[in-house]
């Protein structure tokens, strides 16, 4: 087992806490690609100060308070979505239509004061419908120019609704943007503004007219959250709330810069070796093919989670620790986050299905077997 290196000087996990969307633009520009500075990155303020820690807690409380005006229940979903946003990851929401997924994202957009766009994925949706395309436009002088018309992906907060209804080609275009935080059209690269966050929804794959996301692409989502059906009391509250207006009433409480500073602050949360080892063992234990694999993995798992899972667990655990008023990562953070992080990265086999075990049941078993 090879453990991740820890650089205590910077309190970072090398290779684990540098999200893919934070790669310097200069590094990904080839000589044939011209980089267009669409919007300059906001300057990151000094993050590691007691004041920032206090502000972090206040910001979380404010966001939750505003979201509560538009969203009924869904506390765990909101917590995990906020965790993913601050950690710099994307979230895949799975749930039947009408349970508030879109409303959650719209309300988040308002609360965070970030540009918001929604893409409804359909089988005939083309990649250019997502990323944008070059069009020929005549200027005042009558000269014909090629102009890049940005797609809906150019926003800070993107709702990819029913992503598994689009064809794999369009899904790939979307997921590539999620990975690289830039769009390349006709040899020109257009970086997206930070923070960039995609919240995708998908219908259960058992439904007709869906294209399941491939394992390699679904791995790009930091979390997969299951939005359950609300309880009777919650439905009643939803009905009452929407009788006055269907519009979201949440107000903007923080901006993008604050989110980026919160992200930087979270990176400084210390993680002890034992917790780090536990995390790595947990991910390794989902692999049936490795030496010393857990019994659960050998019996019920077809494919295990990728190393991105360990990265996501540690990154999000730091955020979760701060959200819970703690300044260190604990085992409980890892165990709590194991479900949203691992659930879409583990492929169970027929033995698990035969034994009527869900992915979450398998994760619970793996956690219990990890020391």
């Amino acid at each position: 087992m090879k453990f991740l290196k820890k650089d205590k000087q910077n309190e970072n996990i090398v290779g684990a806490s540098a999200p893919e969307n934070e790669a310097p633009v200069a590094e990904i520009v080839s000589e044939n690609v011209q980089t267009v500075a669409e919007e300059s990155l906001p300057e990151v303020p000094a993050v590691d100060s007691p004041e920032q820690v206090v502000k972090f807690s206040e910001a979380i409380a404010k966001i939750k308070s505003e979201l509560a005006k538009d969203i009924v229940g869904m506390e765990d979903i909101i917590d995990n979505v906020l965790c993913a946003i601050i950690a710099g990851g994307n979230v895949l929401l799975e749930g039947v239509p009408g349970v508030g997924k879109t409303r959650l994202v719209r309300s988040l957009g308002k609360t965070l004061a970030l540009p918001f766009s929604r893409i409804q994925f359909t089988p005939d949706l083309m990649p250019s419908d997502v990323t944008g395309t070059n069009i020929i436009e005549q200027d005042d002088k009558g000269k014909m120019n090629t102009v890049f018309r940005r797609g809906p992906i150019f926003a800070n907060l993107v709702l990819a609704d029913e992503i598994n209804r689009a064809t794999p080609k369009t899904q790939s275009a979307m997921l590539e943007v999620m990975q690289e935080h830039k769009v390349t059209v006709a040899k020109q690269t257009y970086p997206l503004s930070e923070p960039f966050f995609v919240l995708a929804t998908e219908n259960p794959i058992e439904q007709d007219g869906t294209y399941p996301l491939p394992e390699a692409q679904i791995d790009r989502f930091m979390f997969k959250l299951l939005v359950g059906f609300p309880s009777a009391e919650e439905i009643a509250d939803i009905v009452n709330m929407t009788q006055k207006t269907m519009e979201e009433t949440a107000e903007s409480v923080i901006d993008g810069e604050t989110i980026l500073s919160m992200r930087e602050l979270a990176k400084t949360v210390p993680v002890i070796d034992d917790v780090l080892k536990f995390t790595v063992h947990l991910v390794a234990n989902t692999h049936p093919e490795v030496d010393g694999a857990s019994n659960t993995a050998k019996k019920y798992i077809k494919f295990g989670a990728s190393p991105r899972a360990a990265q996501a667990l540690i990154t999000c655990a730091k955020v979760r620790a701060l959200m819970h008023g703690r300044y260190n990562v604990a085992y409980e953070d890892i165990k709590a986050l194991a479900y949203p992080v691992l659930r879409h990265r583990i492929k169970i086999n027929y033995a698990a299905i035969s034994d009527k075990l869900s992915v979450d049941d398998i994760i619970k078993l793996v956690i219990s077997e990890t020391k």
Partner: protein, 499 residues
Amino acid sequence: MNSKFYKIKTTHLIGAVLGSICIGVAAGLAVTGIVLLALKLSAIAIAWGYYVIIAVGVAAVAGGVSFALLRPTDKSVAKRVDEDYGLSERVQTALEFKDASGAVVTMQREDADARVQSLSLKAPSVKKLWQYPLIFVIALAIALTAILIPARVADSADDVWVRPPTPFEILAMQELVQNVEDSSLEQDLKQPILDDLNGILEGLEQNELVSDVMPTIHVAMADIDRRVKAIATYGNFAQKFESHLLDDLANALKGGDVYLEYALSSYDLVKSFESNLISLLSVAVEPYVLSMREVYNDLDVTAISPLMRELINKMQAALDEIDGNPSDELYGVLTSFKTNLEELRGQITDGSADETHFQHTLDLMFNSFTDQLIDAIKTQSYDLAMGKFVVTRIKIIFGIPLDADEKDPDAGNKDDVPGSGDDEDNKGGGMGGGETIYGSDDMIYDPETGQYVTYGELLNKYFAIAQEYLGTDELTQEQKDMVTHYFEILFSGIKEAEN
């Protein structure tokens, strides 16, 4: 970390020390108990000191290893504090990042510090503490079981004596005492032997097991053997004369070993041996004295003188080395013989010797020496024979293995004393109908009478009893034929041996 943390650590250290002591003592008890149990079940006994060494050694090693494993470190204490007080790895993180800088890390340390400081220390977990006394109690139970369980008696030859004395043993011992009293042993030898034998008898009457008397029996045998050998000086004299090249004289003295040639395992044989001892010794001693005498035959006085002087000098040298006891009869005989030789040679030297009757004088002197020598050796040889008889009887009575030169009369040996078994008078006995049945002369113990009788007598007695049943209807014809055939085989075997 603050003082509270180190207070907790001290508590853990004390717990580790006590736990290590408990484990060490328990391990010492348990291992020693297991070893003791194993050895007891294997009927192996070792000194208690070894058990003490094992116990102390194991306790030291186990205690040391336990302390090395249980010894609390800052990290282990931090982990325990986090677990015991639900601090979500705060203390471990503060300890691991104690030298790191940064606001979050600093706040983390302060947070952990404050939480540890505010802890109200719990009493040590009963769940974790009860295991040490339990281990100790289990080990103590093993040790006590090992101590209290009786040791298995070894499956050795000694087992045969773990039983009460039989009437035969007591009866045979009483008979042996009587034999010694009736014997011709010298009084100063007889009484100590009787004391030894009576000691065995008392032991048999006072103890429940023969095994308890065995030490007394072995001591008695060794004492008897030592005493009879102490009075037998002829062997020592023979050795000295042999070393001075007086071979004939040495061989004459070795005639005392005549008792070794016979199986004196019954008192009848001893008595028979005694009655024939003079003649036995005559055969063993006389030829060698005669050989000494023959050296001077047909020589004149002048020629005899240097030969006699050489003999005298050699005897003197040997006797000087012996430094014998004047009260020893054999020593007196030898000294007297040497003196007579010196006187005779003096007569030769001063010319007063009667040359005409000199050879006759020599004959008288050597004949007298022969008689005196046999008389002196006879007493020693008898004492040795009697001593050997007593020791052999004790061994036979109690079933102690005999030495190579000892013979059991029940084993059917034929080395009886000359004149005691081969004459017709001793062959067999009569049976019903006046028919003479031949029997062996071997002495055998008759359990019914407690007396030693010849094998033939006992066989006749048993056959007479068998004949009573053969004349009744209590046995089937087949059984009668079988019994008749059995005795026919026995009798025919004895007849063949006699023929």
